[in-house]
Symmetry: C2
Subunit: 438 residues, 2 copies
């Protein structure tokens, strides 16, 4: 297997190479397709792939005189987000072959910027907890995480430079951490959610899976309209937050956080510790109310028409959601809002918060996509979050750290993440899948 | 024309009559279709109507042993909300004949409760400001308001008991006021927005257009999962808010508010006056930033593929949205959030706020759907709002008053509105369209 394939380049490198006519979009797509052909029978990251359609897009781009900021960048789109030229199956037999009239705005904006929509990536059933076929590219006996399983695995395995995910609990950051890539969930509502299937609408957020922080910046700048980052002039102020769930973390995740904190402190970051108020413990219970309540509404049509085609786990969640009293739902929304309002005081003057991202390495087995707790309460708070593939666990598998910022402070989050990246990740190289062939 | 048609019944009366087998769903639909046949060539409220499909739904309901809470209630669905068995044209030639795989959750929940989806109602282009064909049933030379033009006109004209609307600025309450019906916009995010086309996602809210407050309660209880109202035990505490826009109101709208306040005070409501903080003046400017910014993203696919089929007005809005700097957008979001956070203090102990709903009667001409200002800043604040057809203007046309409550306090809003209804509207009878034939 060649190590110099264009499929290994970052999104920034691809866009730059195409702008400077070092290679063509078609060549990039060909290398991605070759990698997919070699690996996807095992990894199963793709729900839909039409090589001819991908190549046709690439050739159309190559024929243009002007290049957008995503020129030639291949993107795998999570299969709960609409694409006008590919089916959107939602990880459910109910939607097999479902064609939509339009691209979701998130897809259309990327196309406008020159991206190649390479294919649709595997999602858990309706972006929920029921696992689908994808395996962790580092170890086929382990979960890739979910529900953005396919995008995380495809990016980690060099099948595409970028993938879209959606996060309601931890569906972008957890698979990113388990597969060893960067997962970035922007502030709530910052990327248009038109044309995506809702799981729990008051939390659902579209995010990106990529291999560098620079790429997270590039993609999200196109999708949100934010200008590209300027580098930080100084070291960020970091608040270490072990969270109220600290005891649920395995030693390797704890060590990742402590080691990261130590190295970043030595590198010049100002550090202090913060503790989440006791009121934040309401977030965990709120999830067990809000998510099923909203999910049961989001899947009303499927419940009406195709109930038997819904998995047992999701059926139970819908039934639970339909049984929750409205008052309890509203109380939960109110409690979560109170926590959101406390965030500025909790974070103080910190640029970002450093917190565990996952319990540990991707667990063995494909029956669960892993523990959502370390990701989900930040999602509920609507704050932007990013994971960097900075550490390894006892089995040599990736463990990400998580950085979090205030709502709408995505620029600060990404700039700080880039500073951290340069000190924790860039020198180490990646934990790439093909270092551990299967 | 018969005055005893079943099409004249309220949703509550229909559901009750069907539950007690006084008449069938098919008879209700036949009377609605007859009314539509007689009137819609002039009113033009319907974007899609298949009489056979409506009758088929009704007969299927009549064949069932159990009746849901909306048994036999005919609903017109605004043409930006998906229906699996009818096209969704978005008020745009781009989407002519567009078929979707699934019902929007808001539609599926109504079907589950026994409603008949009668047809699709006319919307302004993509739920925006570009008028469509509908005329005000009280006077064909006047606008019905927009963007939920068809639902408001169809409900006012007794073609259907209920209609769905969406409100980004004032698209439910303004047409409701202009057409003389009840328009209710729940708290933001309370009715699932799956399967609807976004206009400005941080504001878009699905609402209902009906002829009584009781019907607003019935429909929204099904769509949100809230139990039906219990009647208020005492008079509500009402805060009179003339708003910072008071001078923009015509005398008839000012009179409606003053007269309503006087009568409600005499009826026993406790009254005090509140003033919006100066910071709320930021809301008007925020709208000119947030709406175009989000609209330009929401219509990314249409902009990519069918730009020439977009109206001049909407084209200008998209171009403006694409030119607004991200920082300005974020600052606007932040300012609006600050206003939202001030609401509890501003409202104090009031159950509801009484405020103008519209500048005045539906204006002459079909080139504009009217002034959005009195509705839109409440929408931006995410609070629930309802208009009641309580007054008439100098031309005998309806003028609604507006009641507003705290976010998620929809039960209080509706219970207070019901109290107000009984004192201001129930005794007067309606301002129904057929009192002024054209």
């Amino acid at each position: 297997m060649s190590n110099t394939g264009l499929n290994r380049l970052s999104a920034c490198e691809i866009a730059d190479g195409i702008a400077h006519r070092k290679f063509s979009a078609e060549e990039v797509v060909r290398d991605c397709l070759e990698r997919i052909d070699a690996r996807d029978r095992q990894v199963k990251a793709w729900a839909y792939l039409d090589p001819d359609l991908a190549l046709k897009q690439a050739r159309a781009l190559d024929g243009k005189n002007e290049n957008g900021p995503l020129a030639g960048v291949p993107i795998g789109v999570k299969d709960v987000i609409d694409t006008f030229d590919m089916p959107t199956d939602m990880g459910s037999p109910i939607y097999r072959g479902n064609r939509t009239f339009a691209d979701a705005p998130s897809v259309a904006l990327a196309r406008r910027a020159g991206a190649v929509i390479l294919g649709k990536t595997v999602t858990c059933e309706f972006a929920g907890l029921t696992p689908n076929l994808t395996r962790n590219p580092h170890d086929p006996e382990r979960t890739p995480g979910g529900s953005s399983s396919g995008s995380a695995a495809a990016v980690a395995d060099f099948m595409t430079a970028a993938g879209y995910g959606t996060q309601t609990g931890g569906s972008v950051l957890r698979p990113a951490s388990f597969c060893g890539v960067v997962g970035y969930k922007p502030s709530y509502n910052l990327i248009s959610r038109g044309g995506m299937k809702f799981a729990a609408e008051s939390r659902d957020t579209i995010g990106v899976l990529v291999r560098t922080v620079e790429d997270a910046d590039l993609l999200s700048s196109v999708l949100t309209g934010r200008p590209r980052l300027r580098a930080r002039s100084g070291a960020p102020k970091i608040a270490l937050c072990r969270t109220h769930l600290w005891e649920a973390a395995l030693p390797e995740s704890k060590q990742a956080i402590e080691e990261a904190a130590q190295r970043l402190r030595l590198a010049g970051a100002s550090f202090r510790e913060i503790h989440l108020p006791g009121s934040f413990s309401a977030l965990q219970e709120a999830r067990t109310v809000i998510n099923p309540y909203e999910r049961a509404r989001a899947l009303a049509h499927e419940w009406n028409t195709n109930r038997t085609a819904i998995s047992a786990g999701l059926t139970a969640q819908i039934e639970q959601g339909l049984s929750i009293p409205f008052d309890r739902y509203i109380q939960s929304l109110q409690r979560v809002k109170q926590c959101r309002d406390e965030i500025p005081a909790v974070f103080g003057d910190a640029d970002v918060v450093l917190a565990p991202c996952v319990t540990g390495e991707a667990p063995l087995g494909l029956q669960s996509t892993g523990d959502t707790r370390f990701q989900e309460f930040w999602t509920a708070l609507h704050v932007p979050a990013i994971t960097l593939p900075s550490h390894k666990g006892p089995n040599g598998l990736p463990i990400g750290i998580q950085l979090v910022a205030r709502i709408y402070d995505d620029e600060n989050l990404l700039a700080s993440a880039q500073w951290v990246w340069q000190r924790l990740v860039a020198q180490k190289g990646f934990l790439h899948a093909d270092q551990q062939q299967f």
